[in-house]
Structure formats: structure tokens, C-alpha cells
């Protein structure tokens, strides 16, 4: 049960990354320019979908799974903040256009 809750942490991490990058301030921090509208919409949709999945995984894990999920999500958000602050270039790669 605990494992299910912990498994939701990577999903929460991905959801937080999408949520952060959909904000102009953090998109600019990573890429140097504001988030284009189409990308913002895609990132927000992905963020919501990932959050729902993370939440469901925690729910399936029962009470212990929810506690693990909530704490894991907090840690995941902390990692996103640290990456944005210390290594924004890592996140920039996620948004880099595919090489043709």
C-alpha cells in the first residue's frame, strides 16, 4: 500500500514540472521567454492529467498510500523548485524543439 503511494511521487513530480513550466515566470527562468499560449494549454492539461493519476494511485493505496502520496508530492515539488533554481537547463531540455 505504501509503495502505491510512493509510486505516485514521480507522477506528482512530472505534474509539478508541467504546472511550473506553464507559468510565464518559470518558463522564462528556463527558456528565456514567456510560455506560448498553445504550449501553456498543453502543459496545463498534462499537469491535470498527471495529478489525477497520482491522486488515484494514492487512493488505491488506502490511508497509508495517501499519506505516502502527500508527503511524496511535497518532496517532488521541492525537487522541482531546486531544479528550477539550481539547474534550469535540465528542464529546458524538456522543452527543446525536436532535432529534425
Amino acid at each position: 500500500m505504501e509503495l502505491l503511494g510512493l509510486a505516485s511521487a514521480p507522477l506528482a513530480f512530472a505534474a509539478f514540472i508541467c504546472a511550473a513550466l506553464s507559468m510565464d515566470r518559470h518558463h522564462r527562468q528556463v527558456t528565456g521567454y514567456a510560455c506560448p499560449a498553445a504550449r501553456r494549454a498543453r502543459l496545463r492539461l498534462a499537469s491535470k492529467a498527471l495529478f489525477v493519476l497520482a491522486f488515484l494511485l494514492g487512493i488505491i493505496g488506502g490511508g497509508v498510500g495517501i499519506v505516502a502520496g502527500v508527503l511524496g508530492a511535497g518532496l517532488a515539488a521541492g525537487v522541482v523548485v531546486t531544479t528550477l533554481t539550481v539547474r534550469p537547463a535540465l528542464l529546458a531540455r524538456l522543452l527543446a524543439p525536436r532535432a529534425s
Binding site: 505504501e2 503511494g5 490511508g63 511535497g74 523548485v81
Partner: protein, 513 residues
């Protein structure tokens, strides 16, 4: 305090945070250490080996106490669990005296290591603050209530909680960086901070809010505790007829089938007497709730007499909230998450305390000569935020360096813990602030990082030997201590680079020129 809800909440947040901050920091820091209290116990008792068998340990302790405490009217033993390597035993004698001992599960006899407060000291300090009963517990409850109100008022104060969710700008320096850091630490672990404060109050509810208990039972507290554990009602008086006790193994097997979990605690009333009763308590591993589920046996025939009925709604709610705070359900990964969330709480409180001085320092006419209240906060900030980690490290040093045969050794460890905090406050008062922070952080870095070396050099746990033996809990503890030392080293270097503050008026004049 005028100016609407947000301004009122800001006022409340600032002052509840400042007034209770030092105490809450102490409670949080020791609470965070308490997550690994069983590992700290094991570290302080190097003769104990990993993965003891709980049932075999209980049987050995049972046999040992039946012969070692023949005058006991009652004895109890807490078996080793996933994390615990020792067994805590207590007994009361016919003449009204009490005794307690740490037993080795491998032998059932007292552990061979010198007496130590171990992780239990941090656990006790966390809610009793080494103060007499009930004052320490009341102070801890009040501090938890202040912290909960500071968290709620902090959320209301925060104007853009979602847009600032990931915002941390250390490059801006000064008040902005501290405020960002404070907000980020507060928001990321917000659910943890709220539930740990509220469930912390619940764990001491009968001390802090005894009104329901007093209203229902008056002064008959024994009746309250009997109703809380109904299976223990009706324990017979001592018959005075010696009898041979039944073997424990079959009783444990029956209790585990009946209770649906592993037995981890036993209590024996009237041992060695015809009226003997053996109560076996179930472990709550993997369960969020922490009910006291037990089965009672006739100690002479080994026959099952009664088992705990399901708890009522109020008790079930209490058990759930209690369990959430104690985290006994948590496996290693979840315990690490509790640890990190606890560290984030320490960071939140520390950054809030520092923010109070940073935001006011530039408004001082002369930052080099602050008024008394400001200076007091500065001194206490260093005393609490650096004193607690130094005291924790001091405990580990004391455990390794105090003579093994010292009288009241655990109490001396406790005194060293408190004296280290007091010494840090005095040191902070005698040194310029920046130097006090930097020097205390250097000392903490050394004190933590050197613990594994000290331990190996003084015959304690040895990191290399632990790794070779596959004792990963001890390896992780040693590496965590080294990592904490690294964290304080980083802090010392950053604190050393912070520019000295300039008075706002002087800065404005310089800018105008």
C-alpha cells in the same frame, strides 16, 4: 493590527511565530530525530544485532523476568520490531518499588552496553522538553497550537500562494530570498505541517484538554483508563498461591491468530501466582490507526480469556490521529519522507525567525547597535537554530565519550544536551551575529561529520564494519550524520559570504550621492 483580515493574519503570523518559534524549532528538530529513534538506540548499543526475532525475544525476556524479578506483581516487555533491536522491560514489586531495563533479544538479559538515553531521549524531549510533568507536555501542546495557528495565518497572509508555489530567488538576496525560502518550505510540506501540529495536540489531548475525561469520570482516572483498554478490566487480586507459568509460545500463536497481527508487547499481572494473567498486544504494522488491541490469557493454564472489542468511534478517531503522528505504520521509504518533511519544518521555522530580523535590520538607525529586543531575538535565533543541532550532535559525542560506569549516565547525557543549547545562547550573546552564525555552523559541521569516526575510534558502531555486515540501517544513520555535517558546512560557507547590513538611511544617502 488594523487593515483587514490579511493584515490581521500577518500580525498573528509574525508574533505567534516569533513567540513560539524557538520552542517549536526545538520540538520539530527533536521530532525529526525521533523518526529514527530506534536506529539511534541501536547505534548507542553496538552489542545489539540486527533483525532479532520478536517472538523468541519475548519468550527469553519472559523467562528472564520470571526468575530475575520474583517479587514482581506486574511486568511488561516491548519486543523488538522492524527497527527496534532491544526490548524495554519494566516491573513493579510487592513492596511498591519499580524497575526497568533494556533487554537483549538474543539472551533476554540486560544489554551489555553502557546505559544511555539513546533515541528515547529525543523522543521524550519532543513532548516533555525535559520539564516536570505536566508542565513540559503543556508547553509542547501550547507550542503546537501556536504553530498550527501560525501555519493557518501564514496561508491566509500569502497573497499569491499558487503563482508563488515554485518561486525561490536566492540570487536576489536579503529579505526577498529569505521570504521566498520561507514560503516555499511552508507551502511544499503544508499538509504535513498542519497534520503533524494538530495530531501532536491530539497525542497529548488528555493533558491539554482533560475536560471530557474529567466531566465523564471525575477524579476516577483509573476508570477512564480501564474503559480505554476494556480487556484489562477485572484483573484478579494476587491469590498468594505459587504456580508454574504456562509457556508463552502457544499463547503468542493463539493471540496472533485472534488479533490478526504479530504480538509485540506483553504484560503479566501476578506472575508466578495462581491468579496470573498474560496480556499480549498486537503490533500495528502497516495500519494507519494505532489501536491498543490485546488478548488476555490465564497465565497458568494458557487459556484465552478475552480479547479487545472493536474501539468506539471516538477512540477509533483518536487511534487514527495518534497513528498518523507516530508513523509506526511507515516503512523505511515513508519514514524518510517524514524525516525530510520534518527537516523542511525546521527550515520553515528557522527561516521565519531569521526573516524577522532581516526585515527589521535595515530599518534600524544603526544596525551595529540594535535595541535590546532585536538583539535578544538575534541571540535566541542562533541559540535555538544552531543550539539544537549542536545539542543533538553533543548527545552522540557524550554517548561515546562518557565513562561506561558513570552514575546516572543517561541523565548526564540529557544535561549535556541542555548545557549545549545554553552554551550556544551565551556564545551567541558574546559574538557579533554573523560570526556567531558562521562559527556555530562550522562547529556543527565538524560535530556531525566526525561522529562516525569518533564512534569507530571508541569501540562503537563502525561504518565500514556495518557496511561489511550488511547492517544498512547503521550505514544509513552514519551517512545521514555525515550529510548533516555537509549541510552545516554549506551553511557556514554561505553565512560567511553574507554582506554586513547597512543602515537604510545611510544606504539612501550613499545612493543619492
Amino acid at each position: 493590527m488594523n487593515g483587514g483580515l490579511r493584515a490581521s493574519m500577518s500580525w498573528l503570523h509574525t508574533w505567534t511565530g516569533l513567540i513560539s518559534g524557538w520552542l517549536v524549532f526545538a520540538i520539530f528538530a527533536t521530532g525529526t530525530a525521533t523518526v529514527f529513534r530506534h536506529e539511534i538506540e541501536a547505534w548507542a548499543r553496538p552489542s545489539l544485532s540486527a533483525n532479532p526475532d520478536p517472538a523468541a525475544g519475548l519468550q527469553r525476556a519472559y523467562d528472564h523476568l520470571l526468575t530475575a524479578a520474583p517479587q514482581a506483581t506486574l511486568f511488561g516487555v516491548q519486543a523488538p520490531s522492524r527497527q527496534e533491536r532491544d526490548m524495554q522491560a519494566y516491573w513493579s514489586n510487592l513492596d511498591g518499588t519499580y524497575g526497568q531495563a533494556e533487554l537483549d533479544p538474543a539472551t533476554g538479559a540486560p544489554v551489555a552496553d553502557p546505559p544511555t538515553g539513546g533515541g528515547e531521549m529525543f523522543y521524550r524531549f519532543h513532548f516533555e522538553l525535559m520539564a516536570p510533568y505536566p508542565y513540559g507536555r503543556l508547553a509542547a501542546c501550547l507550542a503546537a497550537a501556536f504553530f498550527a495557528s501560525a501555519v493557518v495565518s501564514g496561508v491566509i497572509t500569502h497573497k499569491r500562494i499558487f503563482s508563488d508555489f515554485f518561486t525561490f530567488r536566492p540570487e536576489k538576496g536579503g529579505q526577498r530570498a529569505w521570504l521566498d525560502g520561507h514560503n516555499v518550505l511552508g507551502v511544499l510540506a503544508l499538509p504535513f505541517h498542519l497534520f503533524i501540529a494538530l495530531t501532536g495536540i491530539i497525542t497529548l489531548a488528555t493533558t491539554f484538554m482533560p475536560f471530557g475525561m474529567v466531566g465523564g469520570y471525575g477524579k476516577d482516572l483509573a476508570a477512564f483508563y480501564a474503559d480505554s483498554a476494556p480487556e484489562t478490566r477485572g484483573m484478579p487480586e494476587r491469590a498468594g498461591k505459587p504456580a508454574v507459568m504456562a509457556p508463552l509460545g502457544p499463547m503468542i500463536s493463539t493471540a496472533e491468530r485472534q488479533l490478526g497481527g504479530q504480538v509485540l508487547r506483553l504484560t503479566v499481572n501476578n506472575p508466578g501466582d495462581a491468579s496470573a494473567r498474560v496480556t499480549l498486544h498486537r503490533d500495528n504494522e502497516g495500519r494507519l490507526s494505532r489501536p491498543a488491541v490485546a488478548a488476555v490469557f490465564d497465565g497458568v493454564t494458557g487459556k484465552l480469556l478475552t480479547a479487545s472489542p472493536p474501539p468506539g468511534p471516538a477512540m477509533a478517531t483518536n487511534d487514527l490521529l495518534y497513528g498518523l503522528h507516530m508513523a509506526e505504520f511507515a516503512g523505511p521509504a515513508l519514514r524518510w519522507l517524514y524525516f525530510f518533511a520534518g527537516l523542511s519544518g525546521c527550515g520553515l521555522i528557522a527561516s521565519g525567525l531569521v526573516l524577522w530580523t532581516v526585515s527589521r535590520r535595515r530599518k534600524l538607525p544603526d544596525p551595529a547597535k540594535p535595541y535590546f529586543g532585536f538583539r535578544l531575538v538575534e541571540v535566541m535565533n542562533v541559540g535555538a537554530v544552531m543550539g539544537l543541532p549542536l545539542a543533538i550532535a553533543g548527545f552522540f559525542w557524550a554517548d561515546r565519550l562518557l565513562p561506561a560506569d558513570l552514575a546516572e549516565r543517561p541523565a548526564v547525557e540529557g544535561r549535556i544536551f541542555l548545557a549545549t543549547i545554553a552554551a550556544t545562547i551565551v556564545y551567541s550573546a558574546l559574538r557579533p551575529q554573523k560570526r556567531a552564525w558562521t562559527e556555530a555552523a562550522w562547529l556543527a559541521a565538524f560535530a556531525f561529520a566526525a561522529i562516525p569516526l569518533l564512534s569507530a575510534a571508541t569501540g562503537g558502531r563502525n561504518l565500514a564494519a556495518s557496511a561489511a555486515a550488511g547492517d544498512w540501517a547503521m550505514v544509513a544513520l552514519d551517512l545521514t550524520l555525515v550529510a548533516l555535517g555537509g549541510g552545516f558546512l554549506f551553511m557556514a560557507r554561505r553565512a560567511g559570504r553574507v554582506a554586513a547590513p547597512t543602515p537604510r538611511r545611510a544606504a539612501r544617502t550613499a545612493a543619492a550621492e
